[in-house]
C-alpha cells in the first residue's frame, strides 16, 4: 500500500497545487467570463485533489484525512511536478501551463479508468470528463494568443519557452510507478508522451508557436525536490491550519 499511497499523492498534489495557483486569479482575470472560468477550473482541480488525497489517506491507513495531507505536510513531502508550482505569471503563462497540463491529465485519466484500484478508476472517469473542458478552454486561448497580436504571440511564446523544460517530468517513470503498472494500478507515464506531443504540436502549429530546442528537462518534484516557489505557496495556503490546527467552517 506504500506504493499506492505514494502514487495517489502524486496525482492529488499535481492538482491541488495547480488548482491553488489558478485560484490566485480569482478577482484578477482580464475579463469577467475568464475570472469565472478560471475559478471554476480551479474548483474542479481542487475537487479532484480532494478525492485523490482522500483515497491516498485511505491507502496510507494511518488516520490522516485529505485535509491533513493538504494542510499539514511540508514541501519536501509534496509529490507534484515542478511545473504546477511555478508562480502564475501573466495570463499567457497561465493558459499555456493549463493547456500543457490538461492535455496530460486528459490522457492520464483516460488510461487510469482501467486501473484495478476501484476508487482510482472511478475518480479517473470523473477527471476525464472535466479535463475535456479544461483542454478546450486552455487550447482555445493558446490559439487565440499565439495567432493574435504581436504582443500576445510574444507572451505565449515566452511562456512556452519557460515552461518547456518542466514538461519532461510529467512523463518520467520510476520504480514505484513501474511496480504499480505491473499490478494494474497505475498507467505508464512514459507511454503517454507520444500522444501528448502530437496534440501539443498540432495546436502549436496552428497557433504559430514553436517548441524550444532545449533538451534539458528539470526533475525532482516527484521525489520532493521542489523549486523555491512551492514553500512560499504552501506558507500562504496552509497558514490557517498551521496556526489553528483542526479549525473548521
Amino acid at each position: 500500500m506504500a506504493d499506492t499511497f505514494e502514487y495517489l499523492l502524486r496525482l492529488g498534489d499535481d492538482r491541488l497545487v495547480l488548482g491553488h495557483r489558478l485560484s490566485e486569479w480569482c478577482g484578477h482575470a482580464p475579463i469577467l467570463e475568464e475570472d469565472i472560468a478560471l475559478a471554476n477550473i480551479a474548483l474542479d482541480l481542487v475537487g479532484q485533489a480532494n478525492l485523490l488525497l482522500t483515497a491516498a489517506a485511505a491507502a496510507e491507513g494511518k488516520g490522516r484525512d485529505a485535509d491533513a495531507l493538504a494542510f499539514l505536510r511540508d514541501g519536501i513531502d509534496y509529490r507534484n511536478v515542478q511545473m504546477v508550482e511555478l508562480p502564475r505569471g501573466d495570463f499567457a503563462f497561465t493558459v499555456a501551463r493549463q493547456f500543457l497540463f490538461a492535455e496530460y491529465s486528459l490522457l492520464q485519466s483516460e488510461a487510469l479508468q482501467r486501473s484495478k484500484h476501484d476508487d482510482l478508476s472511478g475518480i479517473a472517469a470523473k477527471m476525464h470528463k472535466e479535463a475535456r473542458y479544461h483542454v478546450r478552454h486552455a487550447g482555445d486561448w493558446v490559439l487565440k494568443l499565439g495567432d493574435g497580436t504581436e504582443e500576445s504571440h510574444r507572451r505565449v511564446q515566452d511562456a512556452v519557452n519557460e515552461l518547456w523544460r518542466y514538461t519532461g517530468e510529467l512523463f518520467m517513470t520510476d520504480e514505484v510507478e513501474q511496480r504499480l503498472v505491473a499490478s494494474g494500478v497505475a498507467c505508464d507515464s512514459a507511454a503517454l508522451e507520444p500522444a501528448w506531443r502530437a496534440q501539443v504540436d498540432d495546436v502549436f502549429k496552428r497557433a504559430g508557436l514553436s517548441v524550444p530546442e532545449t533538451r534539458w528537462m528539470q526533475r525532482g518534484g516527484r521525489a520532493g525536490r521542489h523549486t523555491e516557489h512551492l514553500g512560499h505557496m504552501l506558507a500562504e495556503m496552509q497558514t490557517l491550519q498551521r496556526q489553528h490546527p483542526g479549525a473548521a467552517w
Binding site: G47, Q48, N50, E110, I123, M127, L143, V203
Partner: protein
C-alpha cells in the same frame, strides 16, 4: 416499541423528488440523476449518490438537504453514501428534467461526449435558445455561474442564456 414505522421506499423516493438542487432550483436531486440507490430497512434509510462535478460546492448542501427531508418524513436514521463509479453524466437526466430546464431558461444538455481526444478550435454543437428557440446562438464562455453551466448569447433575440453542459 416504535412509535412510527419507516415509510415505504416509494414514499421516500417521492420525498427525494422534492429535494431541489440549490443551484438549479427547478430540478430535484432525482431529476438531476445523482440518486443511484435508495435502500430502506427497518433501522436505516440508505441513499447512494454520485456527485456531479468533483469540486461542486453544492454537493454538501444537497447531502444535508436529503438527510433533513427524509428525517422530516419519518426516516429515523439516514445514511448517505457516495459512489464515484460509474461517473455521473448528464445523460442520466430524464426528459422531464430537460423540459423543466428549458422552461426555466437554461438550455438542456446534449448527449455527453465519448472518450476521443478534444479537437481544439472545433466547437461542440451549439444549443438552441431556450427563450425563442433559434439555433443561431453563440458561445460566450464554457464556464458559467456554476461548474455545470456554459454561457451563450442568442443572435436572434439577443438574450444571453445558460446551458447545462453535457458531461
Amino acid at each position: 416499541m416504535k412509535s412510527t414505522e419507516t415509510p415505504s421506499r416509494d414514499r421516500l423516493m417521492a420525498v427525494l423528488d422534492t429535494v431541489m438542487d440549490p443551484e438549479v432550483p427547478v430540478l430535484s436531486v432525482v431529476e438531476l440523476g445523482i440518486v443511484r440507490e435508495l435502500e430502506v430497512t427497518d433501522a436505516t434509510v440508505r441513499v447512494t449518490v454520485t456527485p456531479t462535478y468533483s469540486g461542486c460546492p453544492a454537493m454538501q448542501v444537497i447531502e444535508r438537504d436529503i438527510a433533513a427531508a427524509l428525517k422530516a418524513h419519518g426516516a429515523a436514521d439516514v445514511e448517505i453514501r457516495t459512489r464515484h463509479k460509474p461517473a455521473w453524466t448528464t445523460d442520466w437526466m430524464p426528459a422531464v428534467a430537460r423540459e423543466k430546464l428549458s422552461a426555466y431558461g437554461i438550455a438542456p444538455p446534449g448527449p455527453a461526449a465519448g472518450q476521443q481526444l478534444v479537437s481544439i478550435g472545433r466547437r461542440r454543437p451549439q444549443p438552441e435558445c431556450p427563450y425563442c428557440g433559434s439555433a443561431a446562438t453563440e458561445l460566450r464562455s464554457e464556464f458559467g455561474s456554476t461548474a455545470c453551466k456554459a454561457i451563450h448569447v442568442c443572435s436572434a433575440c439577443q438574450q444571453p442564456f445558460e446551458e447545462f453542459k453535457p458531461l
